[in-house]
Symmetry: C2
Subunit: 187 residues, 2 copies
């Protein structure tokens, strides 16, 4: 799949409010936040294990998933939030289709992660109301940006996979299907 990650980065940032100021703030607070991210990850997977619909996807894989998840979270407070970051999140969306994760899992997971991160931020920075508000907005923007890119990728992969399934079941060749689709479109 060819994908313009530069363009997707610009689109994703505009649609999540991730500005250069917010990016700088995320990197700035990194040293104060990072020591707590291990606990955030542990608690997140504990919550997932308590949701029966989610726990079936985790059996025997929690430790390796925690590692990948931990690296992503560190990245949220490290940067840079460039086309490589986007390409990485795009890959994650694609992997989620391959393991047949329902699309709404990503929205749910990000909500649980934000719940935990916001509570950490209020504890850490809450005495300065204005700064605390700015930090919450920055974290919300960067997790929203990640979710948006993942889901864009998920949707593309998911439709491609549906077409595969249809071709397999119908026994129709891709060429015939494409020609029919074009002929149909011209009508």
């Amino acid at each position: 799949m060819s994908q313009d990650f530069e363009k997707l980065t610009v689109y994703g940032k505009s649609f999540s409010g991730l500005t250069a100021d917010k990016e700088a703030l995320l990197v700035e607070i990194g040293p104060q936040i990072k020591p707590h991210l291990g606990a955030v990850t542990d608690e997140f997977y504990q919550q997932l294990l308590n949701i029966s619909e989610a726990s079936t996807f985790l059996a025997g894989r929690v430790e390796s998933l925690k590692k990948t998840h931990g690296l992503w979270m560190e990245g949220l407070f490290t940067g840079p939030f460039d086309k490589n970051f986007t390409a990485q999140m795009f890959k994650v969306g694609d992997v989620h289709v391959k393991v047949k994760l329902p699309v709404e899992f990503m929205a749910g997971a990000m909500t649980l992660i934000n719940n935990r991160l916001f509570s950490l931020i209020v504890d850490t920075f809450g005495d300065d109301k204005q700064r605390c508000g700015q930090i919450i907005a920055a974290v919300n923007a960067v997790t929203g940006f990640s979710l948006l890119v993942m889901q864009q990728s998920y949707q593309a992969s998911s439709l491609a996979e549906e077409l595969e399934k249809f071709l397999k079941i119908s026994g129709m060749s891709r060429t015939l299907f494409t020609n029919l689709a074009l002929a149909y479109r011209d009508k």
Copy 2:
């Protein structure tokens, strides 16, 4: 499409951390938040109009969309968050497929709305750090819950629509397709 909204409500709440305590808190702060929601809605649509990928979906419809959007936001601070609330969000996801809105728009939109709501909450409740943290968690949970239900619905409608498209293009009947799919599955 038959759908167990009771079950989807339980699932959605567990996957967004929307507890009874948080629901009560949302309703409690309603009188302080609601007077500001009109401005939140206006600003949200202004942001969307500035994103070229999004603005094409809005042409000539902004005023009527603002009304629906405003009602949903009022509901976030009114409750009850029961199966009727879920059924309503499910319908919204379905409508989004019908107007061919890309799936990631919903995640992006919710991020922009949360950015604005969190800033309002910090301004209004920021002097009490603990309460402010609880309110942010409650708002994040209820918007996450809404997003999750919408996306579950979106995915179901979107796959149904893809199948329609295949059948139309291939000229295959639904019965033949279903029989082939079953035969294929048994192999």
